[in-house]
């Protein structure tokens, strides 16, 4: 069996993989991107709306434009691409991670790398994941599937839709469907607050007068062959109150109920995963529990903005490049854990006394909060006031040099302020 040799192998050719490959190749490393689809760009290719790139490219771009930019960066930096190729396993090899790749072009090949960057992205939760009762009829899609059909292939899924969940893809699809002549009857959200960005509530729902029912659960999907209606009810004490059940006529149901990092490959090769994110546990270099294997983008944790994916991918590639050059951070690593009102924090380990770049999410909306970084004895090492915190909007935080010197462990909390 043929063996390909690269210094850095990037698995996944979406925003994270292409940005990481551009960065690694620009640092002079022989880099390959392995992409299972026949084209590069990932989900960006179907995200035809604008709003991408303001942080990373300092201009507003659509998804396909963003994909073209990062692909161009990777190409110009000299990265190679293996398209229509799937990584089946990652084995620990003497020279570094050894990948088994099934490739349309190369057949079954080994790929010997010094470092691997996992950038496989995420996939959608679907009806089956939620156990929504009712009839098994056609017309039920995940929001991203409907987006693919509509934006890439021009297939309009129906005439009248109900969207379950207020994630950003669902909100974007509410506008896209409306602009494609589909009436969006309503959006149902089980939580008391929307899951998507505020601006998407404004420009995708309010612009079109689409009602958003908060604290409301879908109670059934009904029809014979095609969806004919859905029923829904408000939540009372955490349960749908069926005495207040309503029925809305529709032929299409879209689910926009969250994304799951696609880590089957990581799990199979023994990488430790974080149950809070579904992604790998990582240190400050974004290295997983297996030496030489790094993770970034939506496979590490689901991001709200592609710009943050690219920034994280750059950092990840820098770490992988340093790893190849045997330059690792000095000092011991300590755990950093989420405390009150913090859903998760990335990374999971840091080197005390260094400046830290932390990403976190609040577990519930907070109008004002004090962010506190404490050590294991409760000392407050760093404090910052924050406003308008929402689970949908990731918080990026720089902890200055020396704040955590001498700490044995860290906890990050958000204390609500009135």
């Amino acid at each position: 069996m043929k063996t390909l040799e690269y210094e850095i192998a990037v698995i996944g050719g979406g925003a994270a993989g292409l940005t990481a490959a551009a960065q690694a190749a620009a640092a002079g490393k022989r880099t390959v991107v392995i992409e299972r689809s026949r084209e590069l760009g990932g989900v960006l290719l179907q995200c035809i709306h604008s709003g991408f790139g303001l942080h990373y490219f300092h201009e507003e771009l659509t998804g396909p434009e963003y994909a073209a930019r990062v692909q161009q960066k990777a190409t110009e930096a000299g990265a190679d691409f293996l398209l229509a190729s799937t990584v089946m396993q990652i084995l620990p090899g003497k020279k570094g991670p050894l990948l088994t790749v099934y490739s349309r072009q190369e057949g079954v090949v080994w790929l010997q790398a010094q470092a691997v960057i996992l950038a496989m992205g995420c996939r959608e939760r679907c009806r089956g994941n939620l156990g929504i009762p009712g009839d098994r009829v056609s017309g039920v899609y995940s929001a991203g599937t409907a987006q693919l059909l509509l934006n890439r292939e021009g297939i309009v899924p129906g005439k009248r839709a109900v969207i379950v969940g207020s994630g950003d893809i669902g909100l974007i699809m509410a506008r896209r469907l409306t602009w494609s002549g589909v009436k969006v009857a309503c959006v149902l959200e089980i939580m008391p607050y929307p899951a998507g960005l505020s601006r998407n509530i404004a420009q995708c729902l309010e612009d079109f007068g689409i009602p958003l029912h908060l604290s409301t659960s879908i109670t059934g999907i009904h029809g014979r062959n095609q969806v004919e209606s859905v029923t829904f009810a408000p939540l009372v004490n955490g349960q749908p109150d069926l005495t207040q059940e309503e029925r809305v006529t529709c032929d299409t149901v879209l689910f926009s109920v969250g994304l799951v990092p696609e880590n089957e490959l990581s799990r199979d090769c023994g990488i430790k995963l974080n149950p809070l994110t579904g992604g790998a546990l990582v240190d400050e270099d974004l290295m997983t529990s297996l030496p030489g294997i790094f993770s970034c983008g939506n496979v590490l944790h689901v991001h709200d903005l592609v710009d943050f994916v690219s920034l994280e991918a750059e950092r990840c590639a820098d770490s992988a490049v340093r790893y190849c050059a045997r330059e690792r951070r000095p000092g011991s690593q300590i755990q950093i854990a989420p405390g009150a009102n913090v859903r998760y924090v990335i990374p999971n380990q840091v080197t005390p006394g260094q400046p830290h770049h932390l990403l976190l999410r609040t577990s519930r909306p907070l109008a004002a909060a004090e962010l506190q970084l404490r050590d294991t004895t409760g000392n407050r090492l760093f404090v910052k006031r924050l406003r308008h915190l929402r689970p949908a909007e990731m918080i990026s935080l720089e902890i200055p040099h020396d704040c955590t010197a001498g700490a044995k462990g860290l906890v990050l909390e958000l204390e609500e302020l009135n």
Binding site: S50, T62, L197, S198, L305
Partner: protein
């Protein structure tokens, strides 16, 4: 005096804007973290506009769509008409990212441009 609440859509921060329109017509904007919020709020009161993104058909291939965007935000009243025109188009491939597929829509100076390079 009238007060409006708006979410700024210029960037993902989504600033919570409070816009007051005084009786003498003076507009005051609060809650914006950058100058774009001020411009957006004023525009929103007099002539709300949105960037339009959609797809147009690739000639000869019923299952291939070319993604497009408006070069500038489009006044709300013109969007439905613009979409109808876009959906009636069939553009032969190849197209290049940035290529104008529909110039100067209704003399507004707004062009519709392809957002992806596509080959047959």
């Amino acid at each position: 005096m009238k007060t409006f609440r708006k979410i700024c859509i210029c960037c993902p921060a989504g600033c919570h804007l409070t816009v007051t329109l005084a009786d003498d017509g003076e507009i005051q904007v609060n809650g914006n973290n950058c100058p774009r919020g001020d411009i957006y709020a004023r525009q929103e009161l007099c002539d709300p506009c949105r960037t339009v993104t959609a797809t147009v058909a690739a000639a000869g291939d019923p299952h291939c769509r070319i993604p497009v965007k408006s070069s500038e935000p489009v006044p709300l009243a013109l969007i439905d008409g613009l979409l109808a025109e876009l959906y009636a188009l069939a553009v032969p491939l190849p197209v290049t990212m940035g290529q104008i597929l529909l110039p100067d829509y209704r003399q507004t100076g707004i062009n519709i441009v392809a957002t992806r390079t596509m080959c047959p």
